[in-house]
């Protein structure tokens, strides 16, 4: 993955968030406070604007700049979580000009690590972790077959992981306040994470 592809990934993620903001907010209204779509929209628009303003030279720098913008503009729980995730992923890529499938896999692992370190959520807590964890495993399992296969597998796994949050009772984030009433709803953060991996698969296939 070179800098253009990485930048395209972020732009596509922002587009998918814009397109699905209403759905994300509705999911958050059901078990949270009804702002996840608006938050992610505000954050990713700021991120894309930052990338336009001073285009980074490496994929790693693209992710770090995105993370900074998310921390600075998103707010809520998602801001620090996604922000840290992108910055960690960016740092993992160091200054490679073009990341191999293996390097991108390591970046996704760092992304997950950042989210878990900050949020202390485990698989099954009904958070974005339930989308990202299976995505990372699927990516690594398929990494041998090349980037295209890996990102497609990751996107599918993230979508399945998101669907898998529906029967769960939340143990982290606002949804946990609802106790058993959180069961039966899809987690909004998992849903936005699924969009992140969908965006990655789309831009990779198109490249």
């Amino acid at each position: 993955m070179n800098v253009e592809l990485c930048r395209a990934w972020m732009v596509r993620f922002a587009e998918l968030i814009d397109a699905d903001a209403g759905r994300l907010t509705a999911l958050d209204a059901a078990i949270g406070d009804g702002d996840h779509g608006v938050n992610m929209q505000r954050g990713m628009r700021a991120a894309v604007a930052a990338l336009d303003e001073s285009p980074p030279e490496t994929p790693g720098r693209v992710l770090i700049a995105t993370g900074r913008a998310l921390v600075a503009k998103t707010g809520g729980a998602a801001g620090p979580l996604y922000g840290t995730a992108f910055r960690r992923a960016g740092k993992a890529l160091a200054d490679t000009e073009s990341a191999s499938a293996a390097e991108l896999g390591a970046a996704l692992v760092a992304m997950l690590g950042g989210i878990q370190e900050l949020g202390q959520a485990a698989v099954g807590d009904k958070t974005m972790v339930d989308a990202l964890t299976p995505a990372v495993s699927a990516f690594e399992a398929a990494a041998g077959d090349g980037l295209g296969a890996a990102v497609e597998a990751a996107a599918r796994a993230a979508a399945e992981g998101t669907a898998g949050t529906v029967p769960l009772q939340a143990r982290k984030g606002r949804a946990s306040y609802l106790g058993e009433r959180s069961i039966g709803h899809e987690d909004p953060g998992a849903a936005s994470t699924a969009l992140l991996l969908r965006a990655l698969a789309e831009v990779t296939a198109a490249s």
Partner: protein
């Protein structure tokens, strides 16, 4: 959605313009979204800062002023502020004796304040953080994000603010704030949902004869749904939940708080029930507040907050305060 606004996305920014116009004694930094005292930080005084999502007015901006907060960082509606913004509030409150962050226990608030504290340390501002978590509707366990911070925030801002005004050092002001939090419990009830401007529709549906028991302050549904009942029963439900968690006795400070759309005459009816419940349980009301102090936009409902305070904390409660929403003694 029927609101007295211009555009949903502009509510917070425009409300800040209104606050600045209405309260010359406050300074509003519109770029960073920080409300602070017009006079700037008090040299040598510990700064007290709070913040969180908007939609809870008068919390937090309405509590900025002598004897209470030095600065507040209002985020978007129900969305915690961002680190840079909290840092700006921290700097605006820094009189050189360190700054206390009063943080309501929500993942977003906790994470953004933590990042802001790290940034402040980089600027050599000493920061102490006290997380408020007084909502007994949420059991504090590994199965939740922990208890929400609700009404105790008002008590902690008032009392820690008074301590700071008296020249107490950062560690002691922080100790006072966590003491207040440890001794305070709250429980909330919603008669109607509220509508986040950018969402455009109510956060949940509620039948004409239903209420939500154990709500927070972000328009989320409560722990359970109940039937609409007389104020007597709803208030008793709240007090029973508090009493079960922290057996009430002796002198207490109570707040009968309106969620935003409940008229004062109803809050007084509810307060009459609160007073008789406490009286019936041998608890004495030392101080009380009845009104809208920590709200959820246009939600109808109420919350009860009870603090079991020793004499020292009552004295700090009585100390002069001069803010838009809480004022006495000067």
């Amino acid at each position: 959605m029927k609101k007295l606004i211009n555009a949903p996305a502009d509510v917070v920014a425009e409300a800040l313009v209104g606050m600045a116009a209405a309260h010359p004694e406050l300074a509003v930094d519109h770029e960073n979204r920080v409300i602070s005292r017009a006079g700037g930080p008090t040299p040598g005084k510990v700064g007290v800062v709070s913040g969180g999502g908007s939609g809870h007015e008068p919390l937090h901006g309405g509590f900025v002023g002598y004897g209470m907060l030095d600065a507040a960082a209002p985020g978007e509606v129900f969305t915690s502020p961002v680190p840079d913004q909290i840092l700006a509030a921290t700097s605006a409150a820094n009189g050189g004796a360190g700054v206390l962050h009063l943080v309501k226990n929500y993942t977003g608030d906790v994470l953004n304040f933590r990042m802001a504290a790290e940034l402040a340390e980089d600027d050599d501002i000493e920061v102490a953080t006290v997380v408020i978590n007084d909502d007994v509707a949420v059991e504090d366990s590994t199965y939740t994000a922990g208890r929400r911070g609700v009404g105790a925030t008002v008590f902690a801002e008032k009392i820690a603010g008074a301590a700071a005004e008296q020249g107490t050092d950062l560690a002691s002001v922080a100790r006072v704030a966590s003491d207040v939090n440890d001794r305070t419990r709250s429980f909330g009830v919603a008669l109607t949902p509220c509508t986040v401007p950018t969402a455009g529709q109510p956060g949940f549906e509620l039948g004409a004869d239903e209420v939500e028991l154990g709500i927070g302050i972000h328009g989320e549904p409560g722990r359970t749904r109940g039937k609409l009942a007389p104020a007597r029963e709803l208030v008793a439900h709240a007090l029973d939940a508090i009493h079960a968690d922290m057996p009430l006795s002796g002198n207490v400070v109570v707040m009968l708080n309106g969620m935003g759309a409940t008229p004062l005459v109803e809050l007084y009816v509810a307060y009459s029930e609160l007073a008789s419940w406490l009286d019936g349980h041998g608890v004495t009301v030392a101080r009380s507040l009845v009104g809208n102090y920590i709200t959820s936009l246009d939600m109808a409902g109420f919350s009860v907050t009870v603090g079991m305070f020793p004499e020292e904390l009552l004295e700090l409660w009585d100390a002069p305060v001069q803010t838009p929403a809480l004022r006495w003694g000067r």
